[in-house]
Each structure stands twice: as structure tokens, then as C-alpha cells.
């Protein structure tokens, strides 16, 4: 996938599962914006092309590869990752692509 992502991480713990963490590269056709998911649907965070949005998402501790479950859509999307719930407005949610 992305050779160089693993580059910095082949430290003592090894880098066998770095594929999970790739963010960039072509967007496969099955990726959908988070805002399109319906309540009850699950997805995996794959791509966040807008850097400003990515920064916000990363700073909250949400990472590409994280599995999420959409809990509700109205008035705003609420989703769960691990033990935490987040809510994002439409602009942010449509900039996060999941598979």
C-alpha cells in the first residue's frame, strides 16, 4: 500500500500491521462519506482528504483504521468508536470517508 508509512515505524515493535494505518493513496470506489451512513451501519475510517478536518479528527484521537458505528443521524450524526461517542456536523462528516 504505502511503503513509506511503515518506514518510520519499523522500530523494535516491528511494522507488520502498518497497512491498517495508511491514509493516502487512491480512494477505492466503495468508500463513502460518513455523512451517508445510516443509523446502525458500521464502517472503518479510511480517508480524510481535507487536512484541516484530518487535524481535528486526529486531535480527538480518531485514527484511520478505527471501526465506527453510526448511532443516529438527526439532527446531527452521532457515532461510536471504541468506548467513546462523537458528534460531528455535516461539513466534517462529509469529509470523512469510510469503507
Amino acid at each position: 500500500m504505502n511503503e513509506k508509512v511503515g518506514m518510520g515505524t519499523n522500530g523494535p515493535e516491528g511494522s507488520q500491521n502498518n497497512k491498517k494505518h495508511a491514509v493516502t493513496g487512491e480512494r477505492p470506489p466503495e468508500l463513502r462519506p460518513l455523512s451517508d451512513l445510516k443509523p446502525g451501519e458500521k464502517g472503518k475510517v479510511r480517508d480524510i482528504p481535507n487536512e484541516e478536518i484530518l487535524r481535528k479528527v486526529l486531535s480527538l484521537g480518531i485514527y484511520p483504521g478505527d471501526s465506527l458505528l453510526v448511532l443516529r443521524k438527526k439532527p446531527m450524526i452521532v457515532f461510536r468508536i471504541g468506548a467513546s461517542q462523537f458528534t460531528f456536523d455535516h461539513r466534517l462528516a462529509s469529509g470523512i470517508f469510510v469503507e
Binding site: 504505502n2 511503503e3 513509506k4 508509512v5 518506514m7 518510520g8 515505524t9 519499523n10 522500530g11 523494535p12 515493535e13 516491528g14 511494522s15 500491521n17 502498518n18 494505518h21 491514509v23 493516502t24 487536512e51 478536518i53 484530518l54 487535524r55 481535528k56 479528527v57 486526529l58 486531535s59 480527538l60 484521537g61 480518531i62 485514527y63 484511520p64 448511532l71 443516529r72 438527526k74 439532527p75 446531527m76 452521532v78 468508536i81 471504541g82 468506548a83 467513546s84 461517542q85 462523537f86 458528534t87 460531528f88 456536523d89 461539513r91 466534517l92
Partner: protein, 685 residues
């Protein structure tokens, strides 16, 4: 204006200077024998602070209600004896690259920290998301203890962790706690004591690739040493700059072109923007460490709490719930009981018939001159006006307000409310996050103005500050206006609410159009709903009251002295005379001018004056419903109180504060004039 390192009691919120000095904060602890608490919002950091120190600061279930740094102290038992250590609790921090002002405050505290020990507090359930931050703190060379809080929830939900192995892997102490119940605190204290007596420990090095490490070094060498914050290592500064921290780069006086080329090289080496690569790298290292040590539970049954949480996010349930909270919590409890019954008892029965007559007599007895008597007693006396208003009117209202506010806050309802109002708030140039300053403003606008710094963009901070000074009545004012209007029927009260909200939206909407910039996107972590702990609610309300007392009572006293001086010199009469024609325009009796004037010193003073005016019967008829209505609206909109004005200057600058003052006055009287004209033409009341 900075936290006094010697202040061993809790010094609350808002004590940090302007943002331009971001990295220049002085060392937090004199002598360096302190502990700094670091953690994301909602991990129970403040509860831990309380458990450690025994003193009390605000603990809340809403991201962003603790602004500023709280200081306390804790007792540590060494084998050789006891010692007291200082503990600092800055606001929540998600990452080392701050997005909001409060995160900046927290980061500044880290960089200025000569703490012997950093406690990184995490929600144990969220360890995988928060461990990368631990790694960053370790990498930065701070002695870190990892505190896994909310350990009871962790176990109840079926999570598993081999904490001891984690500790070995990381090379730092790991302690499990339930801060609210005091569990694990003794062990934590022991760990801290060990860190203090053993001194340095050697945390694991981060496995960066050699080529990147070489680049860090190269960047670090361009950083002038004298510019570097006291406790920030050059290498770490280099990583932050490469990650896109422009503020830091500017502060370090780095050449923008060079920074650009460094970032390009980092991008090349990492294969993607370094600002993305770095967080993923830390996360990757963290995941590798946790592999096999941390286990999430399998299927999760939706619990009652979860269902309730979902329901509150539903507008059809959430908004009626809001009305219920407003009606029972604020109208019935704060307005009727607090501002009505309790105030009545304190003001009329206690002060009015016992204390003040006694004080009047006493003053007349021992003070030889009338002018001196008037300083202490009488219409504008320090004791009979300042102290009486502060204790008998404002205190109970504010206390009951904070009681309700704290309860709602601890339940975790506010983030859900923020989500519900986001769409509406975006129309007035704010986002859902502004709900906290706005609701807090209903308690005390001064405090609320301070919390506007949790808003992300400049535009939002300006708009929120302005709207607070215009259209959000504080609890003291609101309480009196509630009593005033309530006596004329619930529909009058609803009408008042409607008019104020309408003006809030019109002004906000126009302001959003005029001010450059845009509202930031809304994103928020929803903390779990929790049953508020009554003891916590009370302690928190008392802590807020203490703050209120310390900040506000002196202003009351100053206000009564100024009023006394104005009264004695005839200035008050002159000003009042000048304002009388204005009152005529609003269809109000001329002597209402006094209430407006006094309103500047305390919003509630003004309202209280109006209250008297409305009721007075001997020698003068009370005001008509229309007059009361117009006066209440105008007075609500009219200038902020002097304390809020000071806070506006402090937070947003003198120019903005003065411009707001003029604009607010203009809007208030225009609205009053139009309202009076409208009601005269269409006699609804």
C-alpha cells in the same frame, strides 16, 4: 495576572494572561516540587485533583468548563516523613497540537512546567486512543505516571488490561484509579513518592526512522536556544514545527521559508504530510505496545443509559426536556423559590426589618457627620445597599442557579444540548459549542465571558462576548425580572422571553454577516450520561459561589461608594436628569432613569431598582404592565455590569469593549423605543 505559584488554595479560572505570551509563562512551581495533571476532557481529571488535594475545584461533565489552571496541594508520606506538594490542574488537552484556547493554556502549562512529575490521566476504556499522548509526553522528557481512571466502569463493561506488563513495556508507573470514590489514590501517592525519591526514570525511546531523526536534529539546530520555552526540548519543538505548529514556529522566530522546506523534506521522508504521519506513528507505536495487553469486551447490550442518551439527542425529546429543565429548574426553583421566597425572607424579613434598622441606628449613634453615615447606611450605604444586595438578593439567586446548573452539567446533558442547538447557533455565527457560555451567562455573564475563550475562532469569540453583553440576562437580573413579570402573568413572561430571543437572533444574524471569518465546524465528544453526585453538585456550587463572592462583592462595595459619591456631589441627580428624556421616549416614568444608571454597576441593582419602582404605592402609582415590559426588555439589553465590562476588556481588548458598550446602549434604547411604540399602537398587554 498569572497563577500565583505560592497560592496553595485553589485559585480558579481565568488567571492566565493574553494569548500572545503563549510560550512565555513562568514556571508553574516554585522550587519545582509540583505535580501537573494532564488529560483529555471527561477523563475525571478534576475529580482526581480533588481526590489528591482534598480542596475543591469545578468538576464537570462538559468539555471546556474548566478554563485556567487550578492549584492545590497534597500530602505525601515518605519513609522519612511527610511533605506537601503542589498540584496544578490545567484544562483538558486532546493532543500536543492545540486547537482551542483552553488547549493552548494546557500546553503552555506543560512547556512552562518544572513539575517533578506529570500525571497523564486517561479514561481506561479509551486507553488505545489516549496512549499516543502518553508516549508524546514521555518522549518530551517529562517524568510521566500513567493514571488509568474510571477503572470501575472499565471492569464493569468487561474490558481487560494487564496493567503491570504495560508499566514494564512503557518504563513508567501505571496506576488504576476511581477518583470519585478515592480508589487507587493511596497507590498513586506512593508512586508519586517513589518518583520523587528515585528521581529520573528512563522512558522508552520512540522508534523514529534514522532519516527522520536526522531531520529533527537539523531543524532543532536552527532553533535559537534563548527563544525556547523553559521546559520544551529542542527536538520536541522541531517535531511540533514539522507537524505544522505555525504559532510555535513564529514564536521561535524561525524563517517561514526554511520551515516550509523542512516540512517538504519531512513529507518526502514520511511519504505523506508529516502532520498526518506523526499522529499515526505514535498511534502505531501505542497499538503495538497494547497488543495482547488490552482487550475490549465483545457484544455490548444497549443499556437504559444508552437509550436515554439517544433520546436526548432526538429533537422531539431533547427540546421538551430543555423546556422542562428551564421551567422547573430555572423558573420554579431559581426564579420562584430562590429569587422569590428566599430573597423575600432574607431581604425583607432579615435585613429589612432587623439588620438594617439596627445598623442605621448604630451609625447614627457613633458617626458624627451625616455624610459619613450615608457612606455606610441609608440609600447608597456600603452596608445597607452593597452588602444587603450582595447577600440578600444576589447570593441566593446565584447559589440556586449554580445548583441547578451544576446538576445539569454533571449529568452530561450539555453536549447533547450543544448538538441540538448547533444548527440554530450557526445562523448567528456561532456553533453548538457556544451553548455553554450562553447558558452559563444566565448565571453570571462575567464568568460566561471568560469561558468564551473555549470557542475556536476569533469571530465566534467576539460574537459570543457581544451577545452575552447584550441579550443574556444574568441570574440575579433574571431572578428579579422573573419576579417582576411573573406577577403580571405567565404570558407576559413568555412574551419577554420571545422578544429577547428574537433580538438575540436578529443581532447575531446581522453580526455574523458583518464580521469577517466563519464559524468553526462543530465536533464534540459526547461523554456518557451520569447521575450527578449530589455531594459533588453542592461542593461545586459552593466553589463557584466562593469565586463569585471574591470577584463580585468587592465590586458591589465599590459601586455603593461611587453611588454615594455621586449622590453626595449631586452628580447622580444630574445624570438622572440627563436620562429622563430618554425614559420618556420609552414611555417610562422619569425616575426609572435611576435603575438604568445603577444597572451599570450591577445588572441586578438596576433590575432591583425597577422592582421597587414597579411596586411602590405610597405617593406614587406602580408601573403599568406595558411599562414594566418595556423596561425589563430595555434593561436586559442595556449595558453589561461593570464586572462583565472589565472582563470584556481583559478578554477581547479595550476597543472592542468600548465599541460594544456604545452599540449595546444604542440597540437597547432603540429596541425599547420601538417596543413601546408597537405596544401603544397594538395594545397586547
Amino acid at each position: 495576572m498569572r497563577p500565583d505559584p505560592n497560592n496553595l488554595n485553589t485559585s480558579t479560572a481565568g488567571i492566565l494572561g493574553p494569548t500572545t505570551l503563549e510560550h512565555q509563562a513562568p514556571e508553574l512551581f516554585v522550587g519545582g516540587d509540583g505535580i501537573l495533571l494532564i488529560g483529555a476532557p471527561n477523563v475525571g481529571k478534576s475529580s482526581l485533583f480533588n481526590a489528591l488535594t482534598g480542596t475543591y475545584v469545578t468538576v464537570s461533565n462538559y468539555p471546556g468548563t474548566t478554563v485556567g489552571i487550578s492549584m492545590g496541594r497534597m500530602k505525601i508520606d515518605y519513609p522519612e516523613g511527610k511533605e506537601f506538594l503542589k498540584v496544578a490542574d490545567p484544562p483538558g488537552l486532546y493532543s500536543l497540537l492545540p486547537l482551542t484556547e483552553e488547549e493552548r493554556v494546557a500546553r503552555r502549562a506543560i512547556f512552562a512546567s518544572n513539575a517533578h512529575c506529570l500525571l497523564h490521566v486517561v479514561d481506561a476504556k479509551n486507553l488505545p486512543r489516549q496512549l499516543p499522548m502518553t508516549l508524546r509526553l514521555m518522549e518530551a522528557g517529562y517524568p510521566v505516571i500513567l493514571v488509568l481512571n474510571l477503572w470501575d466502569e472499565f471492569k464493569e463493561l468487561g474490558y481487560q488490561l494487564q496493567a503491570e506488563k504495560l508499566s514494564t513495556q512503557l518504563g513508567i508507573p501505571v496506576v488504576c484509579t476511581v477518583a470519585t470514590k478515592g480508589e487507587g489514590i493511596e497507590e498513586l501517592k506512593k508512586s508519586i513518592a517513589r518518583v520523587f525519591s528515585h528521581g529520573k526514570f528512563t522512558p522508552q525511546k520512540m522508534p523514529w526512522h534514522k532519516s527522520l531523526e536526522a531531520l529533527f536534529k537539523e531543524v532543532a539546530e536552527t532553533i535559537p536556544k534563548e527563544k525556547l520555552p523553559a521546559h520544551l526540548k529542542r527536538n520536541i519543538a522541531a517535531i511540533l514545527v514539522l507537524e505544522g505548529d505555525d504559532r510555535l514556529a513564529r514564536f521561535l522566530d524561525l524563517d517561514p521559508e526554511r520551515v516550509k522546506s523542512f516540512r517538504a523534506r519531512a513529507r518526502h521522508l514520511a511519504g505523506q504530510a508529516f502532520s498526518i504521519f506523526a499522529p499515526l506513528f505514535y498511534k502505531h507505536v501505542a497499538d503495538n505496545i497494547l497488543k495482547g495487553l488490552f482487550q475490549e469486551p465483545g457484544g455490548r447490550e444497549p443499556q437504559f443509559r444508552e437509550k436515554l442518551s439517544q433520546a436526548l439527542c432526538n429533537p422531539l425529546i431533547g427540546f421538551p426536556a430543555l423546556l422542562l429543565v428551564l421551567y422547573f429548574g430555572f423558573y420554579e426553583f431559581v426564579g420562584q423559590f430562590g429569587a422569590g421566597t428566599v430573597v423575600g425572607w432574607l431581604e425583607v424579613d432579615l435585613f429589612g426589618s432587623h439588620i438594617n434598622p439596627f445598623l442605621n441606628q448604630l451609625a447614627n449613634h457613633i458617626l458624627p457627620w451625616e455624610w459619613l453615615q450615608k457612606l455606610f447606611v441609608g440609600d447608597y450605604g456600603i452596608l445597607t445597599l452593597g452588602i444587603t444586595y450582595a447577600i440578600a438578593i444576589v447570593l441566593p439567586v446565584v447559589f440556586f442557579f449554580f445548583l441547578v446548573f451544576s446538576m445539569v452539567e454533571d449529568s452530561g446533558y450539555f453536549p447533547r444540548l450543544a448538538m441540538l442547538v448547533d444548527k440554530g447557533f450557526k445562523k448567528i455565527g456561532l456553533n453548538g459549542r457556544a451553548v455553554i457560555p450562553m447558558v452559563l451567562g444566565l448565571g453570571c455573564d462575567t464568568m460566561a465571558t471568560m469561558t468564551t475563550r473555549t470557542l475556536e475562532t476569533r469571530k465566534e469569540r467576539f460574537l459570543a462576548t457581544f451577545l452575552l453583553s447584550l441579550a443574556i440576562p444574568c441570574s440575579a437580573q433574571l431572578g428579579i425580572i422573573m419576579a417582576l413579570l411573573g406577577s403580571r402573568g405567565f404570558s407576559v413572561w413568555l412574551g419577554y422571553l420571545g422578544v429577547i430571543i428574537l433580538i438575540l437572533f436578529i443581532v447575531g444574524w446581522v453580526g455574523a454577516k458583518i464580521l469577517p471569518g466563519q464559524a468553526a465546524s462543530f465536533y464534540m465528544e459526547l461523554p456518557p450520561l451520569r447521575l450527578p453526585k449530589i455531594s459533588n453538585v453542592f461542593r461545586k456550587s459552593f466553589a463557584r459561589m466562593r469565586w463569585y463572592f471574591a470577584e463580585v462583592v468587592p465590586l458591589f462595595l465599590i459601586a455603593s461608594v461611587i453611588l454615594w459619591g455621586l449622590d453626595l456631589s449631586g452628580g447622580l441627580t444630574a445624570l438622572e436628569k440627563g436620562m429622563r428624556p430618554l425614559m420618556g421616549l420609552l414611555g417610562l416614568p422619569g425616575n426609572a432613569a435611576e435603575s438604568f444608571l445603577i444597572g451599570f454597576f450591577r445588572r441586578d441593582f438596576g433590575a432591583a431598582g425597577l422592582f421597587k419602582l414597579a411596586q411602590e404605592t405610597p405617593g406614587q402609582a406602580g408601573m403599568t404592565t406595558q411599562q414594566i415590559f418595556v423596561a425589563s426588555v430595555t434593561l436586559t439589553l442595556f449595558v453589561p455590569c461593570i464586572a462583565q465590562f472589565m472582563m470584556m476588556i481583559k478578554e477581547r481588548g479595550i476597543k472592542f469593549a468600548l465599541a460594544s458598550l456604545v452599540l449595546v446602549t444604542f440597540i437597547a434604547f432603540s429596541a425599547g423605543y420601538l417596543l413601546n411604540g408597537f405596544l401603544t399602537a397594538v395594545p397586547l398587554l
